[in-house]
């Protein structure tokens, strides 16, 4: 497993979780909320408390659309999406955690699927 300290997540994400004032605007904005087990505001709170392990198992890492609504609307300049991205990167950097093996791709695309979709999905879900 990757190293699971709060400091690692903060360093990779470049985010300061202490700025959070627990308003919940991130989770009030998130379009993927219902698909998440841990919600954007919980990522901020749990990283701040150093509870990293459960987040590494979270399905939210693969539900986040990286739409940056939480980043844009946060009144305090916290970036929940960057925390999610950092945690996802930490998981995927362990080779066995690749979520999107290349051989799966043919079943996932149709004639119109743009390259952009495939490339982004690869960048987000595999290493």
């Amino acid at each position: 497993m990757p190293e699971t300290t709060r400091e690692t997540v903060l360093r990779i994400s470049g985010t300061n979780t202490r700025k959070c004032m627990l308003c919940g605007k991130c989770s009030g904005s998130c379009p993927a909320y219902d698909a998440m087990d841990y919600r954007p505001h919980q990522f901020v709170a749990m990283v701040e408390r150093g509870e990293i392990a459960p987040l590494l198992q979270s399905k939210s890492l693969y539900a986040c659309m990286s739409c940056f609504a939480c980043v844009e609307r946060c009144p305090r300049g916290v970036q929940p999406a960057s925390l999610i991205e950092a945690l996802r990167a930490m998981v995927l950097r362990e080779r066995e955690h690749t979520r999107l093996p290349a051989q799966l791709i043919p079943e996932l695309i149709d004639a119109g699927t743009p390259q952009q979709a495939v490339v982004s999905a690869f960048r987000k879900l595999s290493k």
Partner: protein
Amino acid sequence: MQKIGVFVCWCGSNIAGTVDVGRVVEAVRQEPGVAFAADYQYMCSDSGQNLIKSAVKEHGLTGIVVCSCSPRMHEATFKKTAAAAGLNPYMVEIANIREHCSWIHKNMEEATEKAIVLARAAIAKVLKDAPLTSGTTEVTKRALVIGGGIAGIQTALDIAEAGFAVDIVEKQPTIGGRMAQLDKTFPTLDCSACILTPKMVDAGANENIELFTYSEVESVKGFVGNFTVTIRKKARSVRADLCTGCGECTEKCPSRKTKNEFNMGMDTRGAIYIPYAQAVPKIAVIDREHCLHFKTGKCGLCERTCSAKAIDFAQEDELVTRNYGAIVMATGFQMIDPSGFGEFGYGKSKDVLTSLEFERLMNAAGPTGGHLVCPSDGRHPKHIVFIQCVGSRDTSGCGKPYCSKICCMYTAKHAILVRDKYPDVSVTVFYIDVRTPGKNFDEFYRRAVEEYGVQYVKGMVGKVTREGGRLKVQGSDLLNDRQLHLEADMVVLAAAIEPDPTARSVASMLTASIDTNGFMTEAHPKLRPVESPTAGVFLSGVCQGPKDIPETVAQASACAAKVIGLLCKQKLVNNACVASSDPLLCNGCSSCEKVCPYGAITYEERELNDKGVRRTARVAVVNEAVCQGCGACTVACPSGAMDLKGFTNQQIMAEVDAICR
């Protein structure tokens, strides 16, 4: 030969925790001119001051240096101590080894070194100190209050009650300010107008108070006790001495498309108008920008209608210049424009309102006569959502970093008023924290929940959208771990409050400082909360920081007490550290005169004896009663003629030399 005493204060552990005071004492003993040095735990205490007094007598000291906190804190204390010991108070210098040293350093070695250097500089300066004496000036027994809201009215009434003349300058055509726009007041729910209008009437009728409405401060000169202010009375195009306030003209005016400021632009008014029924003074005013007569030269219906013959299209702005002993800032606040937060849909849907707009919508004199209807189509709402902290506690750039303080309470008030009048309307409040520190405040908020069934949701709204003719509110409900999607008919934004934009320009005329948020700075945040750091300028109400009505009124009266204290004085002792010009060096260039903010420098023809040679020259002369010792002239003077007593160029250079030694 000067004999200097140096007194090093520990300030408990504030200084002694970081500075080795013993070493400082040892070091300064070696300095030339130092006849005595000692340290003590609290130099400002009685026993500390006695230590100084007895040292002065015992060792025949001619000057003293106190190494302690900022001179802003205790310079006056130690000057009094010196005077009590028979020294001229201007023979005292303070070396600030707390704010400038111990508080900002961690390393004891370095801090001690720095403290020694600062002490050395102060010693170098005191060696060149000369005894100074202060002059005195008269105090003009009249105060000016800028802003005629509840803060300005209360301050003016209190000053007037004490027997002093006071003028209120208000940019709107009526006094009353924001409070006049409120429907009910928390936590008692008494009607805002009912408690405000008697005060407005009192202010209008009080013989010591003169109102300058529809007026602005044009310029300010002078200093504490002796300000000269020019007020621009904008042309009302209506003669105040003739208008009876009957309102006939306002009904006849054919131009009806101007947004009514009093109702936050939710309805319209005529080009000639009286802001509202209880306006003081109740005199009509023509808004020239929208008046047909001024736009096209035609019309003139009001003139024909007015039986008092009060309409005067030719009226011009009038400039009034008066002297004041004290000036009160009471410029108040406005609500931020929440369009910067596009996610809440303000400006996109008419049913998204600010709290101040909602206040008018609930008011019997408001645009709907007090009937709560959706502004978009006039339907009766079923569900209203309130969003708190819109732009408050927000460091993202669009908002304000501070808590606006009043929103939690007025939102609870709005919720109660809705539920009380319309039990069929459900109310949801999104909050981050509910802040209710005030007498009977939390009880009031709990009533909203317990008696009125208002739904409080801990969380913030992410987005408000228009859907199916209604609004949809998407937000988080943190305590129940869910995202809410609520249908609503109205959304009310508790938008942050900010200082009225006029405060900035008035403050700069007064050379009074404002903070990063545009609020006026106090002389001391705890101990001098109603005084500006600029002598003679006082602060009343929200111009100093967010406040509710009770706090505003309390501060307004406190402010009045300070003003009365000043106006009661027969004479003010001047600053002895004033500029003076050496006529033999002066080249008559007028540079000093141009930079002097107080008009203290004039030029005169003088006959000079220049090393035996008689000549006549045009030279600068400083009026010591007017000079405030700011030093701008000494810097501007190209010939080195101008100097500041107590801060002479020689003294400054001696300090610099001592530091660089």
